[in-house]
Amino acid sequence: MDRRTFIKSLTAGLGLAALPGSVWAFDKQHRITIARLQYPGGNDDPRPGALRRLLQEVDKRTSIEVDTNIPSISISRTELFDYPMVWLAGDRGFDPFTDDMIADLRTYLLAGGFLFIDSAEGLSEGPFLESVHREFDRIFPDRDRRTLSRDHTVHQSFYLIDRPVGRVDVAGNFEAYFEDNRAMVLINGNDMLGALARDTFGNWEYDVSPGGERQRELAFRLAINVVMYALTVDYKADQVHIPFILRRRNWRVD
C-alpha cells in the first residue's frame, strides 16, 4: 500500500466512523438476514453458527448485503412477517405444531414467504423429515410435494449446480411445495448446514462425505443459490439468461 492509498483509506475509515448511528441503522435495514424457526420438541438449532457462516459467505461472494445476526423466532404471524426468508432445521422428530402455527405458516408462505428445511440427520427418511412431512400434510393438504428437477432455477440462480449435496449425499434432489411457479418451501435431506459449520477455532466441524472438500464447496454454492433463489425466484429462467446457461452447462465436465 502506498502512502496515497493509505491516506485515502484512513480518511474513508474516519469518515465512516463519524457517521451517526441512524445511518448504520438505515444501512442495516436493507440487509438480508434469515430467521431460524423455533418449534416444539426436537432440536431446532442442530448446527449453531452455521447460518451465520452461510450469510458471511453470501456477503463475500455476491452483491447481496447481509445482516449476520440470526434472529430466532417462533412460528407466529407477529414474528414471521418481519422475515421473508426463514430456516427450519432439526436432527430428530418434533411435536406437532398447534393449529395457529399451521395457519400462520400457511398464510406466510402463500403471501410470499420462503422456508428452507434442512435435515441434519444424514438420513434420507429420518424422524425429522417424517415430522416435517406430517406437518406439511396439515399446512398444504391441497398441494403435492414435488421433487425439483435438475434444471430448476435454484440450481442455477448463481452457480451452476448439477446435484444438491451437503454434509452427506443421501437424499437426491430437493423436495418442494409450489405456489404457481415459485417454490415456497424447499426440503433438503443432505444436512447443508453441517457442511458449512465451523467450530470456535474456525475449523470445519464435520467431515463431508463421500466427496470431501470438493463436496463442501459444492454445498456452499448450493446454499448461496438457495439464498439467491429466495431473493430472485425465477430470474434466471428469464429468456435472456437461457442461452448463456445452456452454453455453459454444455461446456462443463461432470
Binding site: K60, R61, S63, I64, G112, Q156, F158, R248
Partner: protein, 778 residues
C-alpha cells in the same frame, strides 16, 4: 223454402250422435239378422229367398240410415283472394347500367312491372298483389309509386325482407313471392352463400317456411359489365404496436380481360406495400393479404386501392379506407436492480403476475468487491448488456425502473443522457430508493437529476442522503385524488387506509420536489425548506413521465400488511396504478379527446368529448383550451398530388363543471379530420389528439356483379320460376290457389226427417210380410 240454385256448393252431414262403435255394432247385428234369415229360408227357392233377404236387408239399412240422421249442408260461397307479394330491390346497385348501356337495372324492373297489370286483371278474383321495396328495410308501396322511385338504398337486405314478409303474413294465405333484384343480398343468405354455392339448410328452411313459390326476376346479367373493385377488406379494429397485422383483401374483376392489377396498401396516404393480381375472364374473385407492423400507438387511416380503368361501371369501389386503432400490446418494463433485495423481489413478483406486463429484469448479482473464487463457466452470471439496453433497445421499453441501482460501476454515465432523451420523447422512468439510489447512487449533477421530480442533495455524505427511521408517509391533497395513491374515493377514508399500512423503513433524503412536480406523499418528520420532504413524487417531463419513491421498503405494504391481518391489495394497487400512470394509459391522461366513432358519413354529427383533469385527477372545470382541426381530402389518401393536410378550423372551448366539453360539428367534405385539443397547465401545455374519417358509405358498391345464381337457387328451392330480365314470360309465374273462402249463405236440409221415407220403409216391410205368407212361410 229454398232453391238449390241459390247455393253453389253442398256437403252431406250426419247429424246422429252415434259413435263409430255403435255403428259397427249395428252393422254386425244387421249382418247377423241377414245370416239368420238366409238359414231360416234355406228351404225356399233361391230367387224367393234372395228377394226376402234383400227386402229385410233394405229395411234394416234404411232404419240404420234414419238413426244416423243424414242432412245436406248447402252453402253459397266465394273465394278469398290470397297474396302475391312483390319485392323490389331499391338498393344503389340497381341504378347501375345494364349491358345495353342505356337502361339501368331498375329500368328493367320497371318494364317488368308493366307486365304485372294484366296479371293482376287475370287473377283479380283469386289474388291480391302487394308491392314492397326493400333496401335496409321493407317498405310497403304500390306499382305506380315504384315507377317514380330511384334506387338509393345503401343496403339490399333480401333476407331481412323475406323474414319481415313471413312475420307480416303469419296466418295469411300467400299465393307467391316475386323478387325483382340483381341478387346482391347484403343480408344473411347473401353472406352465407358464396357465388356458385348451394343454399345452406338454414336458408332453405327460411324460404320453405313461406309455403309458396318464390319467383325471381333478375334485373341484369353479367354480360357487358366491366368493373374492378376492392370488394372486401377484412381487418381487426385493433392492432398491437410492433406486432404483425394481417389485412385480407378480396378483389373483384369482371369484364377486365386478362391483365395484372396492382393493389396498394397505404397508411395515412403513404404507400406501404403493393401486390399484383393477375386477373382473367374465367374468374371474378381474387384473394390476397397484406402483412405489416404498426410502429406507433394511435389511430391510423389505411387505404387499399387499385387503379381506375376506362369503362368501369363505377370508380367508387376502387378503394377502401379503414381506421386501425394501434394499441400497446404488453407493457415492456425494464427493471434494473443494484442488488437483490426483498423490495426487488416483491415488485418483480407483482410485475411477473401481471399478464399485461412483459418484464425484462437485470439484477447485479456480483460486484467488483466480491472475489471470484469459482471459474466463470461454473456460474450462471451474464454480462450486463448496457449497450443493448440503453442504446439499442431503450426505445422499445415503455418503462425503465432503477431500483436501488447505482450506475457508476458499470460505466453507464454515457447512457444517462439517452435515458433522459427517451423519457422526454414519451418514455417513462421510475427511481426507487435504497442505499444505491438518488444522491447515494451518484445521480446528482447527471442528466438523471434533471429528469427526477425531486432535488438531490449536493453533499454525498451518508447522513445527508439517507435516514433510517420508520415512518408512515402522509398523503398530500393531490395524493388524495391521484390514481397512484387513491385507494378510496373518500379522501378521509383514503388517508385512514394509508395510515393503517405498515411503516416504511428508512428513506433517501431529497431536497424537496421540483417546481413542476406533484408530491403525493411526504415524510411526517423530515422537512426541507420548511416543507415536508417528498416520499412519492411524480412529474411530466416533455412527452414522458417520471416517478420517485424514496424508500426501498414499499414491499412491507403488501407482505407485512398480510401479517397484520390486512391484504396486499394496497401494495398491488399502488404499483399497478403507478405503471399505468407512467406509461400514460389513455384512461389516466389529463386531457382526453374521445372520439366515439372512427368513421362517419358526411353531414353526420360528430360525437366527441374533451375531458380535462387537474394533476390530482379531479375534473378541471372552467379550463380554457383550443381545439384545432386539420383536414386531409379523401383523394389525398390515394394520390399525394390531390392535396395534403391543411388547417381547417380552430375553436376555443371552456370545460363545464364536470371538466368536459362536447364538440358539436358536422363535416360535409369527405376526408380525414385530425383534432388536437390543447390546454395549458402548471406543468406546461397538455394535449391529446384524435381523428375521424368522413367518407360516404360505399358498402353497396363493393360488389356490383349481379348474383343471378343466388336468385336462381332461391327460386329452385321453392319450385319458383327464374328469369333474367328483360326475357320474362308472365304466364310462367304460378300462384297458389286461394285456400280460404267466404260463406255468404248456408242451410242444412235434414234428409231423414221425411214421412215418405217412413212410408217407404213400411211399404217394404208390408211387401216382405205379404210375399213371405204367399210363399208358405209364417
Amino acid at each position: 223454402m229454398f232453391a238449390f240454385g241459390d247455393y253453389n256448393t253442398s256437403d252431406l252431414l250426419w247429424l246422429g250422435d252415434w259413435s263409430p262403435t255403435w255403428i259397427a255394432f249395428l252393422t254386425v247385428i244387421g249382418l247377423a239378422v241377414l245370416a239368420f234369415s238366409a238359414y231360416d229360408l234355406r228351404d225356399l227357392k233361391l230367387h224367393r229367398r234372395l228377394t226376402l233377404i234383400g227386402l229385410r236387408g233394405l229395411v234394416f239399412g234404411l232404419a240404420v240410415l234414419l238413426l244416423l240422421e243424414p242432412a245436406l249442408d248447402l252453402r253459397q260461397i266465394s273465394k278469398v283472394e290470397n297474396h302475391v307479394i312483390v319485392l323490389v330491390d331499391e338498393s344503389q346497385t340497381m341504378g347501375l347500367k345494364t349491358d345495353d348501356g342505356e337502361s339501368t337495372r331498375f329500368d328493367r324492373v320497371r318494364q317488368a312491372l308493366e307486365e304485372f297489370g294484366p296479371l293482376e286483371e287475370v287473377g283479380a278474383d283469386d289474388h291480391h298483389f302487394d308491392y314492397f321495396t326493400y333496401g335496409a328495410d321493407l317498405e310497403s308501396t304500390s306499382r305506380s309509386a315504384i315507377d317514380g322511385l330511384e334506387p338509393t338504398a345503401r343496403a339490399a337486405d333480401l333476407t331481412g325482407a323475406i323474414e319481415e314478409v313471413i312475420e307480416r303474413y303469419e296466418g295469411k294465405d300467400i299465393a307467391a313471392v316475386v323478387i325483382l333484384s340483381d341478387g346482391l343480398d347484403t343480408g344473411a343468405i347473401g353472406r352465407r352463400t358464396a357465388r356458385g354455392e348451394d343454399l345452406d339448410l338454414g336458408s332453405r328452411q327460411l324460404l320453405e317456411s313461406l309455403d309458396a313459390p318464390i319467383h325471381t326476376l333478375a334485373a341484369a346479367g353479367e354480360e357487358g359489365l366491366r368493373d374492378a373493385a376492392v370488394s372486401r377488406v377484412l381487418h381487426d379494429d385493433f392492432a398491437f404496436v410492433h406486432n404483425k397485422v394481417s389485412v385480407d383483401v378480396e378483389l373483384q374483376a369482371i369484364g377486365m380481360g386478362t391483365k395484372s392489377i396492382p393493389v396498394t396498401l397505404r397508411r395515412d396516404g403513404q404507400v406501404l406495400q403493393t401486390r399484383s393480381v393477375q386477373v382473367h375472364p374465367e374468374e371474378s374473385t381474387y384473394d390476397l393479404s397484406f402483412e405489416f407492423v404498426p410502429e406507433q400507438i394511435g389511430k391510423e387511416v389505411y387505404t387499399v386501392d387499385i387503379p381506375h380503368y376506362d369503362g368501369e361501371a363505377l370508380y367508387e369501389n376502387n378503394q377502401h379506407h379503414f381506421v386501425l386503432r394501434v394499441i400497446r400490446d404488453r407493457i415492456r418494463v425494464l427493471q434494473v436492480v443494484g442488488r437483490p433485495s426483498w423490495d426487488q423481489r416483491f415488485l418483480r413478483r407483482l410485475l411477473k403476475r401481471n399478464p399485461n406486463v412483459e418484464l425484462i429484469s437485470f439484477f447485479i448479482l456480483r460486484t467488483d468487491r466480491n472475489p471470484q473464487v469459482v471459474p466463470q463457466d461454473e456460474m450462471s452470471l451474464i454480462p450486463f448488456p448496457t449497450d443493448e439496453l440503453f442504446r439499442d433497445e431503450l426505445g422499445s421499453f415503455d418503462l425503465v425502473v432503477f431500483q436501488n441501482f447505482n450506475f457508476g460501476p458499470y460505466h453507464m454515465g454515457r447512457y444517462l443522457g439517452n435515458i433522459a432523451d427517451y423519457v422526454r420523447d414519451g418514455g417513462a422512468f421510475a427511481m426507487i430508493g435504497g442505499d444505491l439510489s438518488f444522491a447515494s447512487g451518484g445521480y446528482a449533477r447527471t442528466p438523471i437529476e434533471s429528469l427526477l421530480p425531486v432535488n438531490l442533495p449536493s453533499s454525498s455524505a451518508a447522513s445527508a442522503v439517507m435516514d433510517s427511521e420508520h415512518f408512515n408517509p402522509e398523503l398530500t391533497e393531490a395524493g388524495d385524488r391521484h390514481p397512484l395513491t387513491q385507494l378510496s374515493f373518500d379522501p378521509e377514508r383514503n388517508r385512514e387506509i394509508w395510515a393503517d399500512l405498515p411503516a416504511l423503513q428508512g428513506t433517501n433524503i431529497v431536497h424537496g420536489a421540483t417546481d413542476d412536480a406533484t408530491v403525493l406523499a411526504t415524510h411526517p418528520e423530515i422537512t426541507h425548506g420548511g416543507e415536508p420532504m417528498p416520499v412519492v413524487t411524480v412529474a411530466e417531463r416533455g412527452e414522458g413521465r417520471v416517478l420517485a419513491v424514496t424508500s426501498d421498503s414499499t414491499w412491507r405494504w403488501g407482505f407485512e400488511h398480510i401479517g397484520e391481518g390486512g391484504t396486499a391489495r394496497e401494495y398491488q394497487h399502488f404499483w399497478s396504478s403507478a405503471i399505468r400512470w407512467l406509461i400514460q394509459d389513455p384512461e389516466l391522461k389529463l386531457v382526453r379527446l374521445d372520439m366515439h366513432r372512427d368513421i362517419i358519413a358526411p353531414d353526420t354529427p360528430i360525437d366527441a368529448t374533451v375531458r380535462v383533469f387537474s394533476p390530482d385527477y379531479s375534473p378541471a372545470a372552467d379550463v380554457e383550451g383550443v381545439l384545432s382541426i386539420e383536414h386531409t381530402p379523401l383523394e389525398a389518401l390515394t394520390d399525394s398530388s390531390a392535396g395534403s393536410a391543411e388547417a381547417y378550423d380552430t375553436m376555443s372551448f371552456t370545460t363545464d363543471h364536470g371538466g368536459e366539453w362536447d364538440l358539436d360539428r358536422r363535416f360535409n367534405s369527405p376526408g380525414v379530420y385530425q383534432f388536437e385539443a390543447q390546454v395549458s397547465s402548471p406543468a406546461g401545455p397538455l394535449s391529446d389528439d384524435n381523428l375521424v374519417l368522413v367518407t360516404p358509405d360505399f358498402a353497396q358498391y363493393r360488389d356490383i356483379v349481379p348474383r343471378n345464381d343466388l336468385l336462381e337457387r332461391i327460386a329452385h328451392a321453392t319450385d319458383g320460376y327464374h328469369a333474367v330480365l328483360p326475357d320474362f314470360r308472365p304466364r310462367r309465374l304460378q300462384f297458389n290457389e286461394p285456400r280460404f273462402v267466404e260463406v255468404h249463405r248456408r242451410e242444412v236440409v235434414q234428409l231423414w226427417d221425411n214421412i215418405f221415407l217412413f212410408l217407404f220403409i213400411l211399404g217394404l216391410l208390408g211387401a216382405e210380410w205379404t210375399l213371405r205368407r204367399r210363399w208358405g212361410r209364417l
